[in-house]
Symmetry: C2
Subunit: 357 residues, 2 copies
């Protein structure tokens, strides 16, 4: 232990809200890019100390660990323990990815802006790949077979981290699934609310409306004053789910990767859309989304399969004067809005329960 | 040659305004997403046939070709010829990007809505990545050292393509360079005009302000009412160019790929920015742009080197509630605004002349 983190607690300057003061090596990078973080449980004044209860390893990391250890439970435990001991965070060195955690607030620094208090049961909404952490129970309670890892230890949140108090009225797996996609309904709500259209309200098309981010986005669009919500799904099965959930005024079946088919389907259902929300996690949906959107309308890309150049050049290539947004996983109040939707819209809850069990 | 394009010319149905009838493989996708187009010079009734004079390769593609060939002129020529022969269009298979061309209208189909007539000297404002084209001179006149490629051959415009007649008062290479990036100042102007900030006007940071899209964007930001324009450049040499051009109120030297360095530099120069415009054609600028931007501000990504996931996860990772736009190469009136800026702002013209000669 050397450098900044040996300063007596009372004499500490405020931490960097990004956690730069926790980076041990290499110097000067952001915590996510760092090889090693300092997980010292003595917090800086703007930090929060969490008693960890459970890690949710991300799917890519879990798969890699399983393959590397031959799925041997003891070897899995050793691998995770070694990573956290070496790096001061649970960032799989092969995949670069992390996951998230749940736990209980032990201590909130006096300058923490996160609004948490001791005893709050929370989930982190920033990746484990940038969260300082130490494990104290040797992962004795983990069977090594699930990406959900019971775990005792502590973790640190920075001034600019994101965490949400877990609702007491919802099962934890449901809450985690909601938090995972809560950026989508938040941005959809913001864009639809500010769309300048006819008094009847904007036409909103949601590609992939029977999925988790899609169903929340459809519900958010309606709440934000959409005049017409068009849900686009790939199959009759998903159309049935979406109709049963009653989240869209029009349900159409079309392949979102076929620009001509999907844009004609949206048009026939009452489009073109003033706002098109892309929640389909397959590549090649950029053209269809752009062509489904009205002149001076907005496309919101939430799918991580989106190609930046396909979107930029695709719009130019068809002379489409549309605004295209990169779906930001974070906006203020995003988790609150998503939880409110899942509580108040039985259709959304229905879709989530089908997809998380 | 088989299929649709062997129909006798007189018997052809109108072409798809999007050029779907020119897609050879894979079937059903838009021309931009296609691997191969049909560059047959027999036009459909709504098309226009162009005698190509010059290609302007986009910066990302040119850089990739230079690196892949070790900047050998013969290898550069062979690489471009092979791409166009294979694909029926000049779309770099690595970067996915194209560029634009200038030429003279040879024939305008009777149903073309573009308003062009034989003899018009034009530039295409849709990407080469979706423009059917053939090269007939082996690129003999290209030295392989410039992204402007003298070239004989033909190209096709669709009903919904965009082209502009070249201004007679400006040299062709200059006009071409302006049109290539005219989406950037247009979108910058629109975003800065509508930014809701203090009466003094929004703070605008332009990363790569001494480049072509960057200098036009800086000028557009000022015209749209920016209160402070911060130009970020990588070297003292570029800083000198930008100061001489007088397009920025503050000129700072910082590596745009280092998020901490660039965001601190922008802050010290009067930031964070309400609007950050990314015109740096190297990967890894997402984090710096996001951290340079104020809460509820906007980042406009014009660089084709932008990674969608780096932008989306980068903003979430630092809890940045910013709006992120995919730079659309097209908006109404974009060429007119850019030409107006280059005529009225000597600093912009100065930068373009240095960079196109």
């Amino acid at each position: 232990m050397k450098g900044l983190h040996t300063l007596p607690k009372s004499g500490r300057p405020p931490g960097s809200p990004l956690g730069l003061h926790r980076v041990v090596e290499p110097a000067g990078v952001l915590p996510q890019a760092a090889w090693r973080l300092n997980p010292d449980p003595e917090i800086w004044p703007d930090e929060v100390l969490i008693d960890v209860e459970r890690l949710n390893l991300d799917a890519a990391s879990f798969r890699q660990l399983r393959e590397a250890t031959g799925a041997d439970p003891g070897a899995m435990r050793s691998a995770v323990l070694a990573i956290v001991a070496d790096r001061g965070k649970m960032q799989n060195p092969v995949t670069g990815s992390g996951g998230m955690l749940t736990g209980v607030v032990r201590e909130a620094g006096q300058d923490s802006p996160l609004g948490l208090k001791p005893g709050d049961r929370i989930a982190t909404l920033v990746s484990l790949s940038l969260t300082p952490m130490a494990i104290t129970d040797g992962l004795a309670a983990w069977d090594g077979r699930s990406e959900q890892v019971p775990c005792a230890g502590h973790a640190i949140l920075f001034g600019r981290s994101i965490a949400a108090v877990l609702p007491e009225d919802l099962p934890v797996p449901l809450s985690l699934a909601v938090m995972d996609v809560c950026g989508a309904p938040a941005l959809t709500h913001r864009v639809v609310s500010s769309a300048q259209t006819a008094p009847a309200g904007p036409v909103v098309a949601v590609l992939g409306a029977a999925g988790k981010s899609g169903s929340l986005s459809a519900a958010a669009a309606r709440r934000a004053g959409a005049g017409l919500v068009i849900g686009v799904v790939p199959t009759e099965h998903e159309a049935h789910l979406l109709r049963a959930a009653a989240l869209a005024d029009q349900v159409v079946i079309a392949d979102a990767t076929d620009p001509i088919i999907v844009s004609e389907a949206v048009r026939e259902a009452g489009g073109p859309a003033d706002v098109t929300v892309v929640c389909v996690d397959v590549p090649g949906c950029e053209g269809g989304a752009i062509l489904s959107t009205a002149r001076r309308g907005t496309v919101i890309f939430f799918s991580m399969a989106t190609s930046f150049t396909a979107a930029a050049l695709g719009a130019e290539g068809v002379a489409a004067d549309v605004t295209m947004l990169v779906g930001n996983g974070y906006s203020e109040g995003h988790a609150e809005l998503a939880f409110d939707l899942i509580r108040s819209e039985p259709g959304v809850r229905q879709i989530f329960e089908r997809r998380t069990t």
